[in-house]
């Protein structure tokens, strides 16, 4: 225990006294948050968009043809048409639950259900409108996740589509009529629309400890190994667990300081509307710290020179960071990038932190947000421990 406390205290002191560490670990994440918010908070959406739309036509077998016309209209603006904005996935009425899950977990952006009575409702609406009698319009059920940018944008497009259909009827019948309305079915929790500050804050709370894992674990471990400091420790009767836990906890302590500093800065200075006092968020953060420390251990034992550690850290850091949806929402990615996203622990951590901080619903199930980073932890630690054991033979 004596050795554990000494390791904990001295490793912590060693970093706290190091100005370079302080900059990268404490000041840089704050600067990053400020710079990102300043640069991108008013960002518009440019370029070609494509949304994944699931369509279920329950009315397809009725005698009228309105529902099939809706399907044709959606198809006309879907891939492979020119200027397609949708990628259409048609599913059967008995697959509605599966379709909802796909939208909820980001496999699709939106689900349109044309109800069974859609055609008869439109026919009734047209007839009653001619007789100037009030009518209930036909509904298009649209399932979407309001706090996911791609889903929300797709919903807006469906609203626009319904408006065009109504305009068509109005033009044909020569009177003002809206026989079709969009009935929104909200998936996930109802949260207020996040600002860019809210959106990016959970991501920064993911990036900061991840960077610490790479900057304050890997190079330090590499330094201790290449300069034979670890060997010197091993020549004493010290229990290796004292070093492991003392070193690890000193890193986690730094990460906790990061959380407190960043969270308070985001809320009180950047006016972010995030629930930084959420215990769920804090415990998930601690879990993430363990994962990132393990990744740092793996990098630190994989290579021994400082230059190699720095290069390997960059190789790991950059793709994981940019494929985590920290700075921008991820959608319309090609399949080969999706593989990286689905294997990326930072993506799951960002999703989980956004949900726990009450920013937006996680597009991945919460068990996956724990399972995939947990897998990274197990693989990284196994690699690090096996390599160390082999070195000691």
């Amino acid at each position: 225990m004596k050795a554990f406390w000494k390791f904990f205290k001295l490793h912590l002191l060693s970093d706290v006294r190091n100005r370079r560490s302080i900059f990268w670990v404490v000041i840089f994440p704050v600067l990053l948050l400020v710079l990102l918010v300043l640069a991108f908070s008013n960002l518009g959406i440019n370029g070609a968009l494509n949304f994944r739309v699931i369509l279920i036509n329950e009315a397809g077998t009725s005698g009228f043809d309105f529902s099939n016309r809706i399907v044709d209209i959606v198809k006309s603006i879907s891939f492979p048409s020119k200027n397609a904005v949708f990628t259409l996935i048609e599913m059967n009425p008995n697959q509605e639950d599966l379709a909802i899950k796909k939208v909820l977990y980001s496999d699709a952006d939106i689900l349109i259900v044309i109800p069974k009575d859609f055609d008869s409702s439109i026919a009734r609406s047209v007839l009653l409108s001619k007789l100037n009698i009030n009518f209930s319009p036909a509904t298009l059920d649209v399932f979407y996740v309001p706090n996911r940018a791609s889903s929300s944008l797709a919903e807006g497009m469906i609203e626009g589509l319904a408006g065009k259909i109504n305009a068509f009827f109005a033009g044909t019948l020569g009177q003002k009529i809206s026989p079709v309305v969009v009935k929104d079915q909200i998936l996930g929790g109802i949260m207020s629309s996040p600002s860019y500050t809210d959106f990016v804050t959970p991501g920064i709370l993911v990036i900061a400890p991840f960077t610490t894992g790479l900057l304050l674990v890997a190079p330090k471990l590499s330094f201790l190994r290449s300069n034979r400091v670890m060997r010197r420790y091993s020549s004493t009767p010290m229990n290796p667990a004292s070093f492991f836990f003392g070193f690890t906890f000193s890193r986690v302590a730094i990460m906790v300081i990061q959380y407190i500093g960043l969270a308070l800065f985001a809320v009180f200075v950047m006016q972010a509307s995030v629930d930084v006092f959420s215990l769920d968020a804090f415990f998930y953060y601690l879990f993430s710290c363990a994962v990132y420390t393990a990744i740092g251990f793996a990098v630190g034992v994989a290579v021994s020179s400082a230059v190699a550690v720095s290069a390997l850290s960059s190789v790991i850091n950059l793709p994981l960071e940019f494929l985590a949806g920290i700075y921008f929402p991820l959608f319309n990615l090609p399949w080969y990038l999706k593989i990286f996203v689905y294997a990326n622990p930072l993506w799951y951590a960002t999703n989980a932190m956004r949900e726990f901080l009450r920013v937006s619903q996680s597009p991945s199930p919460m068990w996956m947000n724990i399972f995939i980073p947990g897998l990274w932890f197990i693989i990284s630690m196994s690699f690090a421990l096996t390599k160390r054991a082999a070195e000691r033979k």
Partner: protein, 304 residues
């Protein structure tokens, strides 16, 4: 004499490569034991096994009359001190903090102040280790090896990279430790260091100990002859040189005599110079070293 460490038939393999081919070493209490050998000879493997950094292969290791099976256990490590080659410490920590850290590893540790005084770095106690000179850093490394008041200290190339003054001060420290009754296992590349400090020496080559003895005996038995170089004024003729009745060779502008008995030859030279009224100038003596011992035993230099 009390045996501190006894190694019998120690072997170690790395894959198919046999690094140690059955070596025997005995260390007695209070002696400085020198372990010499070129790179790749098996020196580091042997030392690291004894320091508890590697697991031994076959063979018997006895520490303080206790037979050890497998890796060196913590109870033995409580009684040994280790100084690795060119030791580095964590950055941004003070000298005293480093010693406190190492003291926390042992059940019975001396106070950091006492250790700092012993290695004479009191004025640097509150300085960061990054600001120490090479000699001071090596003293700190030795300090970390003394915190548990060890019975045996392993010093691995303790003066590599040090300037002559710092090297001399580390030698003084090692001599002081010997005076205090510590047993020292010293590996070094510097022959003069081994000759100056060691009571006994073993030379290892290709995984085998090829010879063990006192430095004096090693040099006497395996080092070859001493060389006496001199000049004469005026330069003697060949007939006058022949009068010495010794094998005299001419090297550059001086004469050289190789001998096992320097004193006797010097007496002969004095008599000879008087007889022919010659003035002997620039006389010098080159004695064989451990380098010569190694060369004669293996046909290679220690640094090859």
């Amino acid at each position: 004499m009390e045996k501190i460490v006894e190694v019998k038939g120690l072997r170690k393999k790395y894959g198919h490569f046999e690094a140690l081919k059955g070596i025997d070493i005995t260390l007695y209490k209070g002696e400085i034991f020198g372990f010499l050998g070129p790179n790749g000879a098996g020196k580091t493997t042997t030392v690291e096994i004894l320091e508890g950094l590697r697991k031994p292969g076959e063979g018997e290791i006895t520490f303080f009359s206790e037979k050890i099976s497998g890796a060196i256990p913590p109870r033995v490590k409580e009684k040994i001190g280790v100084v690795l080659q060119e030791t580095r410490f964590l950055d941004h920590l003070k000298v005293k903090e480093i010693i406190e850290l190492f003291a926390s590893f042992f059940k019975n540790a001396k106070s950091p102040e006492e250790i700092i005084k012993m290695v004479q770095i009191e004025e640097k106690a509150d300085d960061y280790t990054d600001n120490l000179s090479g000699g001071q850093r090596q003293r700190l490394a030795i300090a970390t090896a003394l915190v548990n008041d060890p019975e045996i200290i392993f010093l691995d190339e303790p003066t590599v990279g040090l300037d002559p003054q710092s090297r001399e001060s580390v030698w003084e420290l090692i001599k002081m430790l010997k005076k205090e009754g510590k047993t020292i296992f010293l590996t070094t590349h510097y022959m003069e260091e081994a000759q100056a400090l060691c009571d006994r020496i073993s030379i290892i080559d290709r995984g085998k100990i090829i010879v063990s003895d006192t430095p004096k005996n090693l040099v006497r038995n395996y080092g070859g002859k001493s060389e006496i170089d001199f000049k004469c004024d005026p330069v003697p003729s060949q007939s006058i040189i022949d009068d010495l009745k010794l094998h005299v060779s001419v090297v550059d502008d001086h004469f050289r005599i190789e001998t096992d008995n320097v004193t006797k030859i010097l007496e002969v030279l004095v008599e000879w110079s008087k007889k022919f009224n010659l003035l002997i100038t620039d006389i010098s003596l080159v004695e064989p070293t451990l380098e010569d011992v190694f060369l004669s035993l293996t046909g290679r230099g220690l640094r090859d």
